[in-house]
Symmetry: D2
Subunit: 214 residues, 4 copies
């Protein structure tokens, strides 16, 4: 399976809500009109008044990301998370993510693939011996997929996308950033107008799909 | 004018979104069905797993609140605010809030009313002398109305409503809590099922409307 | 009285703690030596890795600030506050802050001063009629002093000082920023090395002291 | 090696600072005296005014914890973290944590130990093929040790210790909670007076040490 990003929820008429909220500061409601939200939001961003963007939020479901990726993602503290628990979920049929740097190297790929199968086998053997899932999971590699739902407001999404969409970020979280930016540009084009996917298309190109555990 | 609370935005199908997010932890999507969200959400609350409630948010516009009230409100740090700026808005026609404890006392009411008119007069005189609005506002009393938009997620709204709806809270913010709870019970009855307005109806009864500055 | 900023607490050997914490990311403890913390911290700031600065904190007591000022200050949500409560404290002998723009204008100053005395008189009259302090305070002007203790980590102090030390900020909070920066430059010179007080000395010069309520 | 918790920094005279800050709300500084901080802090906790506890903070270095543990820990968002990076640190000599449920079961222990050695071998083989550390790390199991520094204020530590010291928490993070509580009870006995280690001694007893990777 590929890394999948699904929009789960977004503030309806988000840009209108942001304009409505932001005009409270100046009591300038009389300046509203068709497309006034676009100009207003760009003005906010240019002046650095990004706090107003916090009144709109978006939630995404992310499937096919590794535990390396989720451990990075949850470091963003101004967001909300619900993540597949390795304590409660039976991982005997886990799926995994293959880094492109490994997938492009046939010998490395074979070593990696063998090891992931051994990991699954070891997990199952420990389960069969009566070891609890919460302890058996200590053998699960970083590559194992972990589903996660993340919600954040638009100001924080701008921050996350800038940071995690950059060339310094790892390929997996850059892929997430590219997908989320694509969706948010559709939902709120003015809020994300100055963030481009050029760099992220690079990320997308070098990206390889997670591999089914079977 | 009375204290007014308007719902500006809320996560669409909020309870369904919460169920969708929360089932990620256990990968228990197969248990979804008609009304399964209600049972799921009550289970979350009973077990104290309130973090899942963060995936839904609501934004409100509050008009007719005093600066005493807004200074209390903005102390809640897990929320977003856009407030009428006394630096930028000309306050020469400000409106004010009359505390019920003063409104019920004819002599006090007259003293209060005279003073609020003096405050407006003084503000205008300072403006006429060329004093900037941002400095003239130092004479504005706490009673002066200040419009504010506030957004928070449902977990935080539960926290705010419990704290600010209690008898220990001041009457103005209790009135806000009663209004917001009434609206949120309509939008997401399961998320707020265990918070009752009984105590808050008391708050509402003892509440008196803000008085027009004119 | 003048605006007073007192350092209440600061992380001991703050720059050493930051270095200790930051080297964890790279397990580069062997690179520590005399003055290595200075170079390490400047490198963090230049690369934008400011999260490491969060491991040191400072707390300040601020006296002689107005309620206009505290209402601005508490909007910073990544900090902790304990503020003099107008609900619980008897304000019959309140002190107030005189904006320099008013203090420099003799006629305005007289109008302002008369009004502040009327405010105190009105507050006392309402108290004498049996009105509770929490309601009588609705007549208290923004200029009334309010004591506050604020704690934040060094990363957040950098953010607050940049924002509130700028020419766009109001004079009162700029004065606070100048004082806090002066103290923090002494306590942790490397952490604040790139923030200069040049602009803030301007703020300090144009600042006038709060006026005793008597 | 065993799980190690080292106090890296703590607010000096933390309980006195909390009293100093908290008395600001009531301007009740005249009530300070020998041991008044103890009574004041217990009163704050009994009344639920825990925000005052935020003015003191403590930082800890934690060694010998697994990546399962750190992934749980960093979900606490009102804290600051600096963690050993698997992208930048060469993990060819990693150490690992052995869950007690596995260590107590000789057959499981052998399976686990063999697998961890295979994991290290696989990591090294991938490195030898030219795979970057940031990609080779996808084979690293949850059991691999990861050093982390964490800072939080005392209010948040109370929250974390209650949640992670309970029987529902996993053994590794309970062990951390027991150690941190022991240290904080020494540094600030009044702030943590009502949290007991009884339950956590259980956690400590059932705890087994991490195993050296060699």
């Amino acid at each position: 399976m590929e890394l999948e990003v699904h929009l789960l929820a977004v503030t309806p008429q988000a840009e209108k809500v942001i304009e409505e909220a932001g005009r409270t500061c100046y009591l300038s409601f009389h300046r509203q009109g068709p497309e006034s939200d676009r100009r207003f939001i760009r003005m906010l961003i240019e002046r650095g008044h990004e706090s107003v963007l916090e009144h709109a939020t978006a939630s995404f479901r992310i499937r096919g990301g590794s535990r390396s990726f989720t451990h990075q993602l949850v470091r963003h503290r101004l967001a909300s998370y619900s993540q597949q628990s390795q304590r409660y979920v039976d991982e005997q049929n886990f799926q995994w993510v293959e880094p492109p740097g490994i997938g492009d190297h046939p010998e490395a790929r074979a070593v990696f693939s063998d090891f992931m199968n051994q990991a699954r086998e070891t997990y199952r053997r420990l389960q069969a011996m009566g070891i609890l899932n919460e302890d058996a999971r200590y053998v699960l590699p970083n590559a194992v997929c972990s589903e996660i739902v993340v919600s954040a407001n638009f100001r924080e999404w701008r921050h996350i996308l800038r940071l995690r969409g950059s060339r310094k970020a790892q390929w997996e979280i850059r892929r997430m950033a590219a997908e989320i930016l694509r969706i948010l540009k559709r939902e709120a084009p003015s809020v994300f107008y100055d963030l481009d996917t050029g760099d992220r298309q690079g990320a997308a190109k070098e990206f390889r799909a997670p591999v089914d555990g079977a």
